[in-house]
Symmetry: C2
Subunit: 150 residues, 2 copies
């Protein structure tokens, strides 16, 4: 089941719906080079982190807690990177950014999941890795596992 | 004038003190490849974004607002990247991370300040740039200009 927000946000290629709260929606990111990488997008259309309201920050803080916990339990993630960039929107003539966060679990070890091996060769450093696409059925299994631990 | 927090946090090479709130301290980052790049560090020693308290998130949200506003006024920054990474701490045998944010103003134009030229050749993309060190007296002038617009 997907709400209007999800459909609108999906058109931005944020990935597959996992969960939502009052103010944010969590997607499994298109790029799974690091297994469990997610996008956390603001539900209302707003383009600037400076305009996030108190209740949205508090809600976001709870998501950080739950998502980090879930990824530790699900895939034994070592630690986590959080980024709000929105750079690509500014390549357009009329930027129309939408506030979202990149949540990147980092691993000091490799992970085998459903016959695929996931590694984090740049652990300890920040290098944006090329997109790794994985089969839809494995994406669904990753989502299930995150949800069960959320 | 610097407090104990600042001295302790400075030893982590976060840069020069600009401002503090109840829960966070703002430094001018060592790397000024993008002029006005700052580090926002949690005052208490804590290593995990998942443990940030409600009041700390709300306070952080106010800093985001003030800092983005100040950088727009001071240097006409176009937009902003925020990152919480803490990768480097995990290169040690016994990681001892301290929650902090990288605040990177981005510019679709070059900036001249005190006879130095600052450019953002990767605008629209995220590439961590090599460290650009600038003279202490110019760092102080940047801090003054940010403070005046804070």
């Amino acid at each position: 089941m997907e709400c209007n927000y999800c459909r609108g946000l999906k058109s931005r290629n944020y990935g597959n719906f996992i969960f939502q709260t009052d103010y944010w929606i969590i997607f499994l990111a298109p790029n799974q080079s690091n297994i469990g990488t997610c996008v956390v997008a603001l539900k209302r259309h707003y383009g600037n982190l400076a305009g996030i309201k108190q209740e949205e920050w508090v809600d976001f803080g709870e998501i950080v807690q739950k998502l980090e916990f879930a990824l530790k339990k699900a895939f034994n993630a070592t630690m986590f990177n959080w980024e709000s960039l929105m750079n690509v929107d500014y390549l357009q003539n009329l930027p129309d950014p939408h506030v979202h966060w990149h949540f990147i679990p980092r691993y000091c070890h490799s992970i085998e999941f459903d016959s695929l091996i996931f590694e984090d060769p740049d652990f300890g450093y920040m290098k944006h890795r090329p997109i790794r696409e994985i089969p839809d059925e494995i994406r669904e299994k990753i989502i299930d596992k995150i949800k069960k631990n959320f």
